[in-house]
Subunit: 126 residues, 2 copies
DNA sequence: CTGAATCCTGACCGATACTG
DNA sequence: CAGTATCGGTCAGGATTCAG
């Protein structure tokens, strides 16, 4: 199905509010990183905490609820002591990986050019 | 070149901080919308303000500086009275459109499923 | 181990008024 | 027209502590 850039920002009357909300949700500070990390395989809370560098425990807990609610991540609680909770991507979550990689690939590929552009811009501004 | 999801969140030692910063920059509240809007063609500040629904003049000004600094958007000032300023995508900015559309396409395609998942999740929580 | 609750700081961002 | 400047409210999000 053909997409136009306009799809990204349709106004509210066109139902665009919902559409806009989804990239908003996915592109927030941590969600994409968490989903990408879970692409390595199912893992428990602490592993995730170690792998997603820089996130606080609080934000990991809070952020995880979004993709869980959206059906991207599946949460399994084991009735053990101490408790064990594992997170894994659902098929829906896995389907997000290719477009996410496309964006990451773009960023990596053009990183040097963007850096150069910033330097030049800042130099012009003094 | 082969990409892994890990590319998204490489740690600082691996140079990942810069990589992470770029999607952060692109996925902020307005940048993606502005770039997508400019994909329709060069336009002036006021036109952009009208098309990007809901943005304040202040935020449009502030947000525009980021893609401009990154070399995604080119700004042309005409020495006229009243002043005229036009914004357009650079080739680098245009190259962002396909991966951005990939993500938007994913969001649109799976929107119903995500909505259903949210409803179910919220019902379970009461 | 997992995660909820509380506190607190700074950043985001809208409204408004002003300028070249 | 295209910004800049200032004020102020809201809220993201870190640090810490408590709980099951």
């Amino acid at each position: 199905m053909q997409r136009h850039a306009t799809d990204l920002y349709q106004n509210e009357a066109g139902g665009g509010r919902a559409i806009r909300a989804i990239p908003d949700r996915i592109c927030d500070k941590w969600t994409m990183l968490i989903v990408a990390t879970l692409d390595e395989g199912r893992m428990r809370f602490t592993d995730l905490h170690k792998r997603v560098t820089g996130i606080s425990q609080r934000m990991l807990t809070l952020t995880l609820r979004n993709p869980e609610r959206d059906g991207l991540v599946f949460r399994t609680v084991y009735a053990e002591v101490p408790p064990r909770v594992e997170y894994a991507l659902t098929p829906l979550g896995e389907s997000l990986i290719p477009p996410a990689l496309a964006l990451a690939g773009w960023a990596i590929e053009h990183s040097p050019r963007i850096g150069a552009s910033r330097t030049a811009f800042d130099a012009g501004r003094q």
